[in-house]
Symmetry: C2
């Protein structure tokens, strides 16, 4: 299966997102993309590393992309950094 | 020049690290490596994106690596995530 599954990391506890990624791999996903913005970027890296070190040792980083997204807020536009971590299970 | 210069991102304001990276590029560095651990990872991504979008438009990401480092503390070992963003100026 070639579909790519996305887990968007936000304010919930780290292990919630770890579980979401592991579940997708256990459901035969080849690839899972972990996405985050702003301060959640650090948590996204934690999620990826915990998945790889503790739960899915055959998972590898296929691509790690960083960028900037523009958000609309009441006070106009603000820029926020983003990350996309593409994990692939061999 | 092929030497690689490292900027370690920590608790100071983001623009301090942006200035450090820009200064290294202006001193003819081809590559600058931005490193961070734990919660500073988000700030490291901000630093890289601000350098690229505002100050050094020819800079590209040559490599983005994430990993886990083991730190010794009073309460034993703790794991912390890390990032290394390798920026290269064409």
């Amino acid at each position: 299966m070639a579909e790519e599954n996305v887990v968007f990391v936000g304010k919930k506890p780290t292990m919630n997102y770890v579980l979401a990624v592991v579940t997708q791999f256990n459901n035969n996903a080849d690839s899972v993309i972990i996405k985050a913005r702003g301060k959640a970027i650090s948590k996204a890296v934690d999620v990826a590393e915990i998945v790889r070190n503790r739960f899915v040792p055959t998972a590898q980083y296929k691509d790690i992309r960083i960028g900037t997204e523009t958000l609309q807020s009441e006070r106009g536009e603000t820029n926020v950094s983003s990350i996309e971590i593409v994990m692939h299970k061999a």
